[in-house]
């Protein structure tokens, strides 16, 4: 399977499988595109004529708008201060990424490199916190963040919440990766007189780039897609983030799927590019345990 060419196995069956899966994968996404570019608001339900032919049925399952129109995109961008919301999202997501990765890196480094009482417990506690269902967290979070810390309607408040909630996963990832970085690199640096802080910043972090990139991506996505906390904590329209803006189009009695789809695409594009950009890291960064430094 792995050395097929040399063993003379043809590639075309693999391509068939891959093309099949790729179609399966992008099909729903094509529907999102179709709805977005159709200029209509309906959720892609095509009715068939009486006694439908195979061609009719084929037409019905083909994600291709009958007419192409950018009106949904235009409306989304002009109807509401969507650009402003995108900007907020960018700030919040980047802030979350920076803060979240920083917090996770330091903690993961300590868990990976220091031996200290409470190490196992601490690490366990970080993991365990992933397991409590989040649906009941809204009100306690509101009390802490807005009532106690007074961070309502501020991007900083959102950044703190998102960064914190992304920590457990990030610590997990990074610790696994740090563990694979050989210790004698650090010892060498120590011998040369580097402080622990310097070792961390100039040796460990650059070496853990793939894992850092992956955690950064995850933190970014956490912040980028979240909606309910952002909608609850922000008391000014100009402070909303893009997902909040998106939700205006659905919910309640009338649902404008066309706008929503167009908005989703606008919102997804940065993430998709981020994915493309970080692809090479994604593969190695996620597999901490098996990569040897």
């Amino acid at each position: 399977m792995l050395r097929s060419r040399r063993e003379g196995m043809p590639h075309w069956p693999l391509h068939v499988v891959l093309v099949g899966f790729t179609l399966f994968t992008i099909y729903p996404i094509l529907w999102v595109l179709t709805i977005a570019f159709s200029g209509n608001q309906s959720l892609a339900i095509a009715t068939l004529p009486e006694a439908p032919t195979v061609m009719d049925r084929l037409r019905a399952i083909t994600p291709w708008p009958e007419t192409w129109s950018f009106s949904n995109f235009v409306s989304v961008m002009t109807d509401q201060p969507f650009a402003k919301w995108m900007f907020n999202s960018v700030v919040v997501a980047l802030g979350t990424t920076v803060l979240g990765v920083f917090l996770a890196c330091t903690a993961a480094y300590a868990f990976s490199r220091f031996k200290f009482p409470g190490q196992r417990t601490g690490l366990m506690a970080f993991l365990v916190s992933q397991m409590f269902p989040g649906t009941l967290m809204l009100i306690p979070l509101y009390i802490i963040l807005v009532q106690w810390l007074g961070l309502g309607s501020s991007r900083l408040g959102l950044i703190i919440v998102y960064a914190t909630t992304s920590i457990p996963f990030s610590v997990w990832m990074l610790k696994g990766y740090f563990d694979t970085i050989p210790k004698d690199l650090e010892e060498a640096a120590l011998m040369e007189g580097a402080s622990v802080g310097r070792i961390f910043w100039t040796i460990i972090l650059p070496l853990a780039k793939p894992a850092v990139a992956v955690t950064a991506l995850f933190s970014f996505m956490t912040a980028w897609n979240e909606f309910i906390l952002a909608a609850t904590f922000m008391d000014q329209e100009e402070m909303y983030t893009a997902p909040v803006g998106l939700r205006f189009f659905v919910g309640g009695f009338s649902q404008q799927w066309g706008y929503f789809a167009a908005g989703s695409i606008i919102v997804s594009v940065p993430v998709v590019f981020l994915f493309l950009y970080l692809q090479k890291y994604l593969v190695s960064g996620l597999t901490a345990g098996s990569v040897k430094g």
């Binding site: 729903p28 009715t47 269902p133 009941l136 622990v196 989703s264 993430v271 098996s290």
Partner: protein, 687 residues
């Protein structure tokens, strides 16, 4: 390591040597070896440690006890004053009701009543009809503000209070229970208290009587004398003992004894104080009841109000639902038996409290006395660098993750729901009842009338079963599809690999809210794409959301679609890290492809896949969005998973405590899972 260092135990703490080492024989990492750490910082001499422990523990506990005692005494005083005021208010209400709650008759009753009240007290009567102040003896209601008149805008709270009482009375009547308070008491800014009661005429609430009492003398504060006495005497005794006794063990015992004496002494004092308060309260209320009964009879006669039915002073000393307390007889005598019960109730409360305090104090005492504190401080100082690195993340987690988490767990022991969510949690405490209700219900299925098995989809165990099936199938699909694709994509020299790879991770990058809904649309019976395809090949479309199995299939497809890219990327990474020589060696050994796969590929994938699987199990187990958006539990809640069920308990059935218990159970299951998994994977690694 360093802890057993002779330098550090240099001051001769023999108790230290046998405690477990922080790192059992593992070679130390470079960071723990902070060579500057001298270890010469000597702890306090050990007899001082015991004394310090006692000072702190006893001091802390006594301070707490003193605070609690003051508050309880104050509460009792307030209660007594409220009861006195209420007896008076009820008597008055009885009269006002006889005067039909309005008009000159009511005003006459009020002014007659005012005569006997303490200076600074006042009464008002509100009539709902016309939002009127019917009668008032409040000093501000004179001149052009004199009753009767319409209430002014700033008096809206008074009116709303009346309405609240009315609603409460009606609700309780309707529901045949006692859910909402029918009386309100309030502390006034001048230190007096205000009590309000509804006025019922012909079975409906038409108004309200309110009484403001004059400011009271502050509650007597328990003296500081006993506090100091029971603190200093045991301290002195213990100090003496610890200089005489040379053995550390005996010193600790002495300190425990001293602690017990101190706390016990103060407990006895508290008990006496409270019992006295309770007994006195009854006397005072009884006296008030007698006076009011007389007074009411007089006013009744004076104002020629209807005397039937007879006055019922026994109902005047009542709880917030206007149910008689029964502590004082209608004739105004203290009921000794009931009183004894009440005293015992207070006493057992005191005992419980002091029991709790004793545990707390002992913990502190032993912690400090046995050197726990010293060791803790030492540990923190020794590993300060590690703690420093963890601190920022830990603080964030503590505040924003663990606090809500513990709040949730606390909530799970209460019956908190929509109706009582504003009460303090201690008032709705139900212990383990929610858990018993969730876990103790075994009616998973019953036989229907036609003999077929009918599942109870709301049952916890059914939902758990479904959730497990959901998780297992999803992860299995995710892993097998992801791994399969990764194997294909890892074929050397395959054309267009990057293109496939990019397209295949797209589901990961799109917001799942919209893709989930698209998938739901694709499964529509008549117009969904899936059924179109089935019909193209001559089949019949399925009603996907009508049977649990097909409904499950829709959610499974959607989630499988969403989750395989993650597994694919993980597998791909792991595959790329396998050295090619391994395969070459295997080929030389004549291994078939399948043998290569099982002997090389799979074991090499394990270290990467195991954590990914654990992670995705946790994610899938709590995958709220997909179930909620795609099947929404259809049909009939059969495809609900535990989280969506918990959500529905909280937000559709408004049972917050129950939902919290549900969430805690989910958490417990996952914790158990991860522990078992952890142990298993460690066991296999060791093998």
């Amino acid at each position: 390591m360093s802890a057993s260092d002779p330098q550090q135990t240099g001051d001769g703490r023999e108790g230290v040597a046998d405690r477990p080492l922080p790192e059992s024989e593992a070679p130390p990492s470079l960071h723990s070896a902070d060579p500057r750490k001298g270890g010469q910082a000597p702890g306090a001499p050990r007899h001082m440690r015991v004394l310090a422990g006692l000072v702190l523990a006893l001091g802390l506990v006594l301070a707490l006890a003193h605070g609690l005692l003051s508050r309880t005494v104050e509460d009792l005083t307030v209660q007594r004053e409220d009861r006195r005021a209420l007896v008076s208010l009820h008597a008055l209400t009885d009269l006002v009701e006889r005067a039909e709650g309005s008009g000159d008759a009511a005003r006459a009753v009020v002014s007659a009543w005012q005569d006997q009240m303490r200076a600074g007290s006042a009464v008002r009567v509100i009539a709902f009809s016309g939002i009127k102040l019917e009668a008032s003896t409040f000093p501000e209601d004179v001149g052009d503000k004199a009753a009767p008149r319409r209430l002014a805008r700033e008096e809206k709270p008074i009116y709303d209070r009346g309405q609240r009482l009315r609603t409460a009375v009606e609700t309780n009547q309707e529901e045949g229970g006692a859910r909402k308070a029918e009386l309100e008491t309030e502390l006034l800014s001048n230190g007096g208290r205000q009590v309000s009661a509804p006025v019922e005429v012909d079975g409906s609430v038409v108004g309200m009587v309110e009484m403001a009492t004059a400011p009271q003398a502050p509650a007597p504060k328990p003296g500081l004398g006993p506090l100091l006495l029971w603190w200093l005497v045991p301290l002195a005794a213990c100090a003496g003992a610890s200089f005489v006794v040379r053995k550390q063990g005996l010193r600790v015992v002495a300190s425990v004894v001293a602690f017990a004496v101190g706390l016990g002494g103060y407990a006895a004092y508290s008990l006496r104080t409270l019992e006295h308060e309770v007994r006195e309260s009854q006397e005072v209320v009884a006296a008030q009841l007698r006076t009011m009964a007389e007074r009411a009879a007089t006013v009744l006669a004076e104002q020629q109000l209807p005397a039937e039915p007879a006055l019922r002073p026994g109902h005047w000393d009542a709880d917030e639902f206007r149910r008689p307390l029964g502590l004082v007889s209608p004739a105004g005598e203290v009921d000794a038996a009931v009183l004894a019960e009440r005293v015992e109730e207070v006493a057992s409360g005191v005992r419980r409290t002091f029991g709790g305090l004793a545990v707390l104090g002992l913990a502190v005492l032993l912690f400090i006395g046995m050197g726990g504190l010293a060791r803790t401080v030492e540990t923190v100082v020794e590993h300060r660098q590690a703690y420093l690195y963890i601190a920022p993340a830990m603080v964030g987690m503590l505040v924003l993750v663990f606090f809500p988490f513990f709040y949730g767990i606390t909530l799970s022991f209460t019956d908190s729901n929509l109706y009582n969510s504003s009460q303090p949690l201690s008032d709705t405490w139900v212990g383990l009842r929610n858990y018993v209700e969730i876990l103790g219900d075994f009616t998973i299925a019953k036989r229907g009338s036609d003999g077929a098995l009918v599942f109870n989809y709301l049952n916890f165990y059914y939902t758990l079963f479904f959730t497990v099936v959901w998780t297992v199938t999803n992860v299995a699909i995710g892993v097998s599809v992801g791994l399969g694709l990764a194997l294909i994509l890892n074929v050397q020299g395959l054309a267009m690999r990057p293109v496939y790879r990019v397209l295949l991770i797209l589901p990961w990058a799109m917001p799942n809210y919209i893709t989930a809904l698209i998938w739901k649309g694709m499964f529509h019976q008549q117009f969904g794409v899936v059924n179109h395809v089935i019909r193209m090949f001559g089949g019949q479309g399925l009603a996907w959301f009508d049977s649990p199995a097909t409904s499950f299939l829709t959610a499974l497809t959607t989630n499988g679609w969403l989750s395989f890219p993650f597994m694919m990327v993980v597998s791909l990474g792991a595959l790329q890290s396998i050295p090619a020589e391994l395969y070459e060696a295997a080929r030389v050994d004549g291994a078939s492809r399948w043998q290569q796969f099982t002997a090389i590929t799979l074991p090499a994938l394990k270290p990467a896949l195991v954590p990914a699987v654990i992670l995705s199990v946790v994610w899938t187990f709590n995958m709220f969005n997909i179930i909620f958006l795609v099947t929404d539990g259809e049909p009939g809640g059969s495809t609900e998973i535990l989280v969506t069920q918990a959500y529905k308990y909280a937000f559709q059935r408004y049972r917050y405590g129950y939902a919290a218990a549900y969430s805690t159970v989910i958490f417990g299951i996952l914790l158990l899972y991860s522990m078992v998994q952890n142990r298993l994977s460690r066991a296999t690694e060791a093998a």
